[in-house]
């Protein structure tokens, strides 16, 4: 019994290492892309002869050395403050499935280290059909990307709840693509990968067209939750919003979703089409 648990744990940690190395590869590729053709104006790593930023201090610090104020440091600026935000990227009604879909992200922390909560789900017929919540520690990887490490909890009204370890990257890729890619390891050798990309096309200063893509991959069949292994589903959305101010914008749009592989079969068995196209309308806001 105990041996089994240890074995499970070992496999789990092995997978975590594997996943993190994949993520590292991804980061490396990003860093390479950053540096290319731009004389290393961005990213990269410090050359051996880079200047020591403390070279002019003569060993003094902000609290030690001549003329320093007695006691602990008094001057604390915003680089040491904590901030928080709640971003409701999507809060919308989908006409075909008659469901309300939400997609929030909240964070609390400093410039480089944050507690991040992401939650996505849908409510239909007055009940929470399914939801997925990530609880992550975000840490700055480079100027534009954070690594995110934590857990994900999936809850289903019909089906079986799942817990996952999560490791991902989120940030702004060259050409202004917002990316969010996370790999997951669950129990019984389950693995998953979720990827999301968004782009903002400013038609005017306030009228913004937002293409969006999201896909999910699973390592194993999960019949209880109607998920097949491999590429499970892909959604492409196009939303047009009007920013009354930068923090509040109603939108309308289209969302196209297609199921693949076994997931498609589960969908068909449940009387759903494997491809869905629907009109959405909602609000995007943050505070």
């Amino acid at each position: 019994m105990r041996l089994k648990a240890i074995k499970k744990l070992m496999i789990l940690s092995l997978k975590t290492v594997l996943l993190s190395s994949i993520t590292m590869q991804f980061n490396y590729a990003l860093a390479q892309a950053d540096g290319m053709g731009q004389m290393q104006a961005q990213g990269g790593s410090a050359p051996a002869d880079a200047r020591d930023p403390h070279a002019y201090s003569d060993g003094y610090t902000l609290t030690e050395g001549p003329y320093s104020q007695p006691g602990p440091r008094q001057l604390i600026l915003a680089d040491e403050y904590t901030f928080w935000a709640v971003l409701v990227d999507r809060l919308e009604y989908q006409n075909d499935s008659e469901a309300t879909v939400y997609d929030f992200q909240a964070w609390y922390g400093t410039t480089y280290d944050r507690l991040v909560i992401k939650t996505e789900g849908d409510i239909a017929e007055g009940r929470q059909e399914e939801s997925s919540t990530d609880l992550l520690w975000g840490h700055a990887l480079n100027a534009y990307f954070d690594t995110q490490l934590g857990v994900r909890i999936d809850q289903y009204y019909e089906g079986k709840d799942r817990q996952w370890l999560a490791l991902g990257v989120q940030g702004l890729a060259p050409y202004w693509f917002e990316l969010d890619v996370t790999a997951y390891v669950g129990d019984n050798g389950r693995t998953a990968l979720a990827a999301e990309a968004e782009y903002e096309l400013l038609l005017t200063q306030r009228l913004i067209l937002q293409p969006r893509a999201e896909l999910n991959l699973y390592g194993k069949d999960d019949p209880e939750n109607s998920l097949g292994s491999g590429l499970s589903d892909l959604s492409l959305g196009l939303r047009l919003r009007y920013e009354f101010n930068r923090q509040f914008a109603p939108y309308i749009g289209m969302e196209w979703t297609r199921a693949f592989g076994d997931t498609a079969d589960y969908w068909l068995a449940a009387g759903k089409e494997r491809t869905e196209t629907q009109i959405v309308a909602g609000f995007r806001f943050w505070f």
Partner: protein, 615 residues
Amino acid sequence: MKRSTDLSLPNVSRRQFVQGLAFGGVIAAIPPWLQAGTSTIKGLDSSPVLSGKHIDLVVDQTPVNFTGVTRIATTINGSIPAPTLRLREGDEVTISVTNRLPVPTSIHWHGILLPFQMDGVPGISFKGIAPGETFIYRFKLRQSGTYWYHSHSGFQEMTGMYGALIIEPRLGERHSADQDHVVQLSDWTDEDPMHVFSKLKVQSDIYNFSQPTFFDFARDVSKMGMQGALEKRQMWNSMRMNPTDLADLSAATMTYLMNGTNPAGNWTGLFRKGERIRLRFINAASNSFYDVRIPGLKLTVIQADGQDVEPVTVDEFRFGPGETYDVLVQPQDDAYTIFAQSMDRSGYARGTLATRQGLSAPTPKLDPVEWLTMADMMGRMNHEGMNHKGMDKSATESMKHPGMHSGMTNSQHSNHKMQGKKHAAQNPLSKPSPNVRHASSEYGPSVDMRVDMPSTRLDDPGIGLRNLSQRGLRPQGHRVLTLADLKSIDGVMDDLRPPLKELELHLTGNMERYSWSFDGLEFGKSTPVSLRHNERVRIILQNDTMMTHPMHLHGMWSEIETDQGELRVRRHTIPVQPAQRISYLTTPHDLGRWAWHCHLLFHMDAGMFREVVVS
């Protein structure tokens, strides 16, 4: 041409219309037009004037209305701007500051040489002034000129704590004037500054409503073809940089003020025909660069940052928070508009010079937003390939030299044979080092770009001010002041020793994360810069960001030199343009700890702040 503005507001945009509801400023204060009837024409300004050797200041909360909405400001003696202090060179002054706020406060005397305990930076020079407490500042005035003072605590400066500080020279002014007006530019937001700051942490372009749009792109495609339009954007988009990132805060939240009066309020300075007027321009804004001009009048700049310069006549100048310029004008007509548009062209402060109250001249239109150029992002690397459209003539001339190898400036190239060897043999520090050395801490998440081939030119007026006549935005021959035009009068700079030490620091930031720093290290992670008492030191500041940073070094002068090591002008606040590498010398005569920071208040607070120890 002149007309009364009491009812008609030229160029009324939606925002100015809102501003027009209020005459402006502190609600309890007497409006300037009322003062006009009671005071003499001489020295008429919005703020009361205090002089002598003993000054009492009280910091308190005061309701104000700049936009039609009442807000609580932090004020000094109940006015915005704070009282103008007119002091005398050589005097030992005693200034008592009483804090009636519920939070600690402080006052910093910007540009004044004094013992560090009197410099007024909480946590560096002293503890700050606790609520209910009175702090006595006492120092001898060792200089003369136009300066200012402001809170150095939190965002109090942004909510109203700033005033003019004029020190009359012991031996009389070098230039006589019949009228003497302080023109203090500032900015105001109805929002809580901390809230504004935290919004920038979430979305740093939240106040930028001049962003590139799809229709701009379509326009460019029809003008320059698909390839041209794509090329124009390629570098920006691949690097995730915004070519209209000219200011963090715009008129979307700021109201721009002249002597505490909004544009509709039309602050008016009076003169009699034929008089010579001295205008003491002070940029007391929290976060706004201003481009100032008075259509119809030549501006003869006679002082920069309180220090006399060889007079230079221009039509327009740009200055950032912390900088001051004294200007002589000789109006012939009855009314002129003092027009100060914000660098991002989202709004303006405006006032009038007139022979009597109620007159006004036309208010110019805001200039269109000009995209930053590749040179602003990358320094010199793209000069060869780019068209020189955005450059003034001298800039173009100086770029024509071929063979810009790394680490060699244009002028150096031409002068290399004549001077290079001679100087090198004498003293390797006779010229500022052209070799870019990034700090090891510039390769992390705190820095979104680094410049490898910075420009060392001082004659670039900067984005939005280049080639104005050719672009049809100003009359022919319009001249904009540049740093290269400024030369201190003989005798102003007294230390002619060559530097013994050279320090290089880079101005860095990450716009997406809204983080600002020196060398990629925000204040909390930094260590002080240690200088030896009375030693002559060279400081090289290289700007690795796309914004202009007005860099203010407390407690000692910053004496700008050319890339050839020629001393030019003494300043206390130096604007460093994007991708520019600027060099200055200093001699720390006063022991202690001093602040050194970007005077854009939000950049300072985000961490572009260092301590300097003189021991």
